[in-house]
Point group: C2
Chain length 343, copies 2
Amino acid sequence: MPSDDLENPNRPLTLKDVSEASGVSEMTVSRVLRNRGDVSEATREKVLEAAKSLGYVPNKIAGALASQRVNLVTVIIPSLKNLVFPEVLSGISEVLDDTPLQPVVGVTNYKPEREEKVLYEMLSWRPSGVIIAGLEHSDASRAMLTAAGIPIVEIMDSDGEPIDAMVGISHRRAGREMARAIVDAGYRKIGFLGTKMPLDHRARKRFEGFTEALAKAGLEIHDHEFYEGGSALLKGREMTEAILKRSPDLDFLYYSNDMIAAGGLLYCRDNGIEVPGRVGLAGFNGVELLDGLPVKLATMDACRAEIGREAAKIVAARAAGEEGGHERVVLTPTLQLGETLKR
Amino acid sequence: MPSDDLENPNRPLTLKDVSEASGVSEMTVSRVLRNRGDVSEATREKVLEAAKSLGYVPNKIAGALASQRVNLVTVIIPSLKNLVFPEVLSGISEVLDDTPLQPVVGVTNYKPEREEKVLYEMLSWRPSGVIIAGLEHSDASRAMLTAAGIPIVEIMDSDGEPIDAMVGISHRRAGREMARAIVDAGYRKIGFLGTKMPLDHRARKRFEGFTEALAKAGLEIHDHEFYEGGSALLKGREMTEAILKRSPDLDFLYYSNDMIAAGGLLYCRDNGIEVPGRVGLAGFNGVELLDGLPVKLATMDACRAEIGREAAKIVAARAAGEEGGHERVVLTPTLQLGETLKR
DNA sequence: TTGAAAGCGCTAACAG
DNA sequence: CTGTTAGCGCTTTCAA
């Protein structure tokens, strides 16, 4: 029991308590607990036993202040409800698990002002690095990131200029490639179905790349449909119904994500609309869910886990003291034609 | 620019820098930045401007050490890939957003030893509270939680004794209720399909409650199928095919989660197996995904967001100084019969 | 191999 | 309303 527990009987234990319990100086106790420097086996054991029996948990706050070192890596993503981000996170964890670093997640809900706030909160803990989704940030956010003096890795997107390092794919190119594949397959009346969210820059860039490539082939989006909130699968059904009723001559539907595409696919099957004969379908992301669908959906893998891993590697390397800066990793998503895009 | 930047030109700014830049004492600067105590409008503005123009970000590490206060709430969950947990998280955020508290998430991957490690790491930052999934923890984890001297809320489950507070549903009861509904509807040859994971205690308890209620009706599980890893939707399809091939006389399939149940439903529809005529189906959770399915699946709402909100409220109340301890909130999941459980 | 002293950057407590 | 003083619990640095 701590010696001066007269004051506050329920106070957390400190190094001093372990020091007194083991009869070893605080400094040596600290060394043992951190495996730093040489300590004789005898004292080491004494200390370890005392710490354990007391149930001592070191105070990282004090440690961090004294050592000016924090093994936290800030990870900022727009949402957890979109499976994509948990997958990026597992890529990150996979790599950081082999290091002393620990990821700490902040969620912005796609709102720049929230991003700013979360970033501020997180940076005030002086993390060893930041991994943040997207290349678009408010001026204030950019200023904070620039001034932080730690590795900053912007992920998911490569269409733009990063503050420091960048790991992602080109969504513009992804949109272009899909457009080309669709046109090459002979489809001509193409509809687009996507999210209304004006702040999902990656979806926007895919759309831009898509229309750009269509234009090159002398085509235009023939009709479109946007949604907001709710169950993506259900929205996919509803939007598909709406767009096909309005424009029955459409021969292809490009969805901005796999979840709504899956909804569209189920709608078509339930309503005797032949895919890909009557209408072709394609989504984006390559989510695991698709494996369970009756038909393989055309999509494009967004390299989520890989992006997480590469980003984590960059942070880990620099935290370990390696020189670096402005790394650029551009991954290439693979087009999977599936069974919903062909003639 | 900081005055003593000769030493380290890229050092993060401190209160002292703001103090010097504004000509106000460190203490008053601190007061302004925290909105504490009375400060004249004049000095307040001077300080704010200096802080802003320098781009000062307070060091929470030092602040926390000095004030012995950390507005972090540790949230420990088994996984992020199961949509259930992000939903709990949003319930938590919803409530904490109106407080100075901030959630910090740790993931255990359903492994007790990982839980122990994550818990240790998190507790060493001296958070204001812990929200942790489940009532089953290793001895070491229990010891840490007990010794932490902060509010501990165990969530999701109410079948057991919490260390401190508890917010959840009874999974045993959920299993019993579903069994009763199935038996009442006239089904007799019942199959169970679930996860192999022996450490998903809540799934286990539902299973136990389920078989218990069947027994009371003089019935037994007629066949079962377990899976591990992979796409849940796909596994649902595969398991359903396997179990129906092996035991064609089954008239009901109870799945341990909605995702595999959805896979089963799609399988049945694709293979002309009439639901609920030929075979009835039920899942568990009430995931949003179900809204997009062709047929409404029988399920049970697990009250995820509500659980998150209640847990956060308990932590927030105690962090705000309210007395408390051993709160128990037992929510009642509602059975949704849908269209896959009836005759 | 061990220990003593001096902070890390901030805030509590008190004094003006 | 503002400033001074003394730590918070640990690690760095230096000396023994």
